[in-house]
Symmetry: C2
Subunit: 205 residues, 2 copies
């Protein structure tokens, strides 16, 4: 389980397995096979066996995988067997959608603060959250010790906000702004950009 | 340019290059290098050269790439040198965010219809769009000949809606519901699920 040796591409598939396994568990299943899991996630059974074997011997030949055992192992590997605090920057449409998203808590995350630089929005509510002033963002993040952020600000502001987040101690950014961020090597960035995902499919049409 | 022979992993990186190159062009740059592009997207220069070389000889040793030439080539390869019609299913928070998203048109896409099954929402507006009745979805998509859809319905409804979309002729689905869809081999699905992206980063924290 050496972080340096497991290819990032495999790490990227583990949350997909985790999501599918959770749904199997929710529907009352106890065991599964690489074949069945593969059909759920659109990845070959051989690839799944290979990916999972990177982390040890989880299944027995012929009897398949215990779903609960695999869930526990994957959550441990991905470190989502705990709850991570996440800050949300930007209270526009996407910020609202994320603030109201119900799928974080049971998957290892909770939003602890929402910041915006629009003084008209500061102090208003999104669901249970009161929008906070972006001017206090760095200090509050430092105080809270938050390591993760979701960034839903406009593209021209994104790099500047990202720099501040990193200065405040954030080490993982989920970026919704349609711009590639420049970050130090010790900071991870994931991008969510619908046009990029659509462009990945048109090639095949 | 044989669609069967270029690995999907490479196709997945091309929209990322396209986005970075577009931003370089917008800021007035005329040429770039694999080194510079790599710094923008967080991918090694060697990997970028290898990816791009799959599609022919685009750069000259020592002089780098013409950004406009590369943009034109990538748009052609990804088939976003035209405008694709896209339907949006689900008029919740995420549907609103996508309906108001400004980044589609200049990257090859336009939303043509928004459907929801909530009769209270049908007929109301999101920006310039009037929400249409999901009961008419299949027929309207067939009539319009739309091949792409964005799915923002709740997880329990997603597979059923996806089946209808495919029946109506849709061949590419951008799925925001936190569930893996079962689709035929001739249908492409991309997933946008913030918890999955966050889980991909916690491993490294």
């Amino acid at each position: 389980m050496n972080a340096e040796k497991i290819p990032d591409i495999i790490i990227g598939r583990l949350p997909v397995y985790l999501r599918a396994l959770q749904r199997m568990a929710d529907s009352g299943l106890k065991t599964t096979s690489s074949q069945e899991l593969g059909e759920h996630v659109g990845i070959s059974a051989a690839q799944i066996r290979k990916d999972i074997s990177q982390f040890g011997e989880f299944g027995k030949q012929g009897t398949g995988y215990s779903i609960q055992f695999l869930l526990d192992k994957l959550r441990g590997i991905l470190k989502v067997d705990r709850i991570w605090d996440v800050v949300l920057i930007g209270a526009g449409d996407m910020g609202h959608a994320l603030a109201n998203y119900q799928g974080f808590t049971n998957r290892g995350f909770r939003i602890v603060s929402i910041f915006d630089n629009d003084k008209e929005k500061v102090g208003t509510m999104i669901g249970e959250y009161k929008i906070e002033d972006a001017d206090q963002m760095v200090e509050k993040i430092k105080t809270m010790g938050v390591k993760m952020a979701m960034l839903t600000v406009p593209a021209p502001a994104a790099q500047n906000v990202a720099d501040k987040l990193i200065q405040a101690g954030v080490r993982a950014i989920l970026n919704y702004a349609p711009i590639s961020l420049n970050v130090p090597n010790n900071v991870k960035v994931q991008y969510i950009d619908p046009a990029t995902h659509l462009q990945r499919m048109t090639y095949y049409l």
